[in-house]
């Protein structure tokens, strides 16, 4: 099965982090991605630019509207994602727990609808 790991964290705090901490975080993510590749579970993933760069298209009654900003203003923001190929939910959860973002943020694990 394919699972989407959605990484939510506090964007502002991350942007304001000292350089050393940011470098450390990058290194942690790079190691994590490498481990996923080696385990053969990585099926995709990207880091997202901050929500200030987001633009939203919202439709209602057949009309669409282009709005400045993310879909929802929340305490934590979607900062990136991975797609993992895992035999079951527990394996996907194990990888979610290993994600550097899981230490102070939220990882939502969603099964991907098979095509």
């Amino acid at each position: 099965m394919k699972y989407l790991l959605l990484i939510y964290g506090q964007e502002a705090a991350m942007m304001a982090a000292p350089k050393e901490a940011a470098t450390q975080m990058m290194a942690a993510y790079s190691a994590y991605t490498e481990a996923m590749k080696k385990a053969g579970v990585l099926a995709g993933g990207e880091r997202l630019r901050p929500t200030s760069d987001a633009t939203t298209v919202r439709g209602s009654n057949g009309k669409t509207q282009v709005l400045n900003g993310p879909y929802a203003e929340t305490k934590e923001q979607l900062g990136g994602y991975y797609v993992v190929e895992a035999p079951d939910l527990d394996t996907a959860l194990t990888w979610a727990k290993r994600c550097p973002g899981a230490q102070s943020g939220v990882i939502e694990v969603r099964p991907i609808w098979p095509t």
């Binding site: 895992a86 939910l89 527990d90 394996t91 099964p111």
Partner: protein, 420 residues
């Protein structure tokens, strides 16, 4: 003809009791589709009920059910899946099923099914109902009445939980070592919930409920035998066996309720008690105390009366202290207060009850009111005791316990009043 119907129905029920969960677990572990596995089996049982009265119960009824169920399952997979992957899947499943001549040759994967049902991705309130339905084959209406929920609500919850197992890819296997302790607690909780449901029919009038306690013990044995290094699994089994050992003693021959303190230890099943004590001892050597071991130890402190003639109330108070620290449960607090009263006198017991009286969860909890009434009566506060007994009687649903409480209440005002 009617006689044949009855015989066929009984035979089908016996097969269902022995083999249902095993077949569901086996089929579901391979397809991840619990609903489909259940559907195949209920189709097979429906066919049996139609076929057996006319042609007689087959010599190997389980083999008959298994053959029909596997055909149903394979057809269902063919219908729901397409492509080569599905075809391969069907062949593998068919071969494995074909190889098993009887249900006993099918690998027992009920433990895996239980871990799936008690997975953290499943709503906690539906875990025990899910185990009842998938392992024991209970219908939603029966489960709903046991859990005091509307049948349609329970049905919906069960359907949703089974869909989640399938769609989220909840595995049918043992959790990894890191998660095992926590996951096992959920499984044990669910089994204990099943036991408690069976326990609520002390007279054993309702066969189905009595079976629930037996089935819970069966599940407990299964978990304890497959996970002999898990002290809480042993603790739960010990707890259930101790309680079961006293089943007969809980009622007189006439069906009157006998509280634990008045039970005749000669009526307790010493074989079960010895087994329970052995399990608890083994668990205690593993150095990881937990809720079920503590509750089993409370039972052990009660049954020591069969040897010494006295209950060790001081030990029981200490055990409830520890249990309260772990669970914070008001039910534990009530039991602790009863132990305090026995160990240190009614006044201190009542003070312990007063300390938790504000908990809204206790306002409709019969044992709280009964304990309160007993202690007030012991302290000579007859009016308040009468009022508390009235509450307890109003909250009790078991007729035998109600009669017992009514007698106690009547005894407050001199000689017992003869009921009209």
């Amino acid at each position: 003809m009617e006689r044949g119907d009855e015989q066929a129905r009984r035979a089908a029920e016996a097969v269902a009791r022995r083999s249902y969960g095993r077949l569901v677990a086996f089929l579901a572990a391979r397809t991840r589709d619990v609903s489909a596995a259940e559907d195949s089996l209920s189709e097979a049982f429906a066919k049996a009920l139609a076929d057996w009265p006319a042609h007689g119960v087959p010599q190997n009824p389980e083999g008959w059910i298994l053959t029909v169920a596997r055909r149903q399952t394979i057809d269902a997979i063919r219908r729901s899946q397409t492509g080569e992957k599905a075809a391969g899947h069907v062949v593998l499943l068919a071969e494995e099923l074909e190889a098993a001549a009887s249900v006993n040759e099918i690998p027992d994967e009920r433990l895996f099914l239980m871990f799936a049902c008690a997975h953290p991705a499943i709503d906690p309130s539906v875990r025990a109902p899910l185990i009842l339905q998938t392992i024991l084959g209970f219908d939603a209406a029966t489960i709903a009445s046991a859990f005091l929920v509307a049948p349609s609500t329970m049905g919906q919850r069960l359907v949703r939980a089974k869909a989640k197992i399938r769609q989220a890819g909840i595995p049918f296997r043992l959790p990894d070592r890191d998660d095992l302790g926590e996951r096992l607690d959920s499984v044990l909780d669910a089994i204990y919930t099943v036991f408690a449901e069976g326990w609520s029919d002390p007279a054993g009038v309702e066969a189905r409920r009595r079976d629930l306690a037996e089935e819970a013990i069966f599940l407990g044995r299964l978990v304890a035998s497959l996970m002999p290094d898990q002290p809480e699994a042993l603790g739960l089994l010990s707890l259930m066996l101790s309680a079961e050992a006293r089943r007969v003693a809980r009622r007189t021959a006439k069906g009157e309720y006998v509280p634990l303190a008045n039970q005749d230890p000669a009526l307790w099943d010493s074989g079960l008690i010895d087994e329970a004590e052995g399990l608890l001892f083994r668990a205690s050597t593993m150095g990881a105390i937990g809720r079920f071991q503590l509750e089993a130890a409370v039972q052990s402190a009660h049954v020591v009366r069969r040897l010494t003639g006295k209950t060790d109330w001081k030990a029981i108070e200490r055990l409830y202290d520890a249990l309260y620290r772990i669970t914070g449960s008001p039910v534990v607090a009530v039991n602790r207060a009863i132990a305090v009263a026995e160990a240190r006198g009614a006044a201190e017991g009542l003070a312990a009850l007063e300390a938790i009286a504000g908990d809204p969860r206790l306002s409709e909890y019969q044992p709280y009111w009964a304990a309160r009434a007993d202690l007030l009566a012991a302290l000579g506060n007859i009016a308040a005791a009468d009022e508390a007994y009235r509450m307890a009687i109003g909250l009790e649903s078991d007729a035998a316990v109600r009669r017992f409480l009514q007698e106690r209440r009547a005894a407050l005002s001199g000689p017992p009043v003869v009921a009209r």
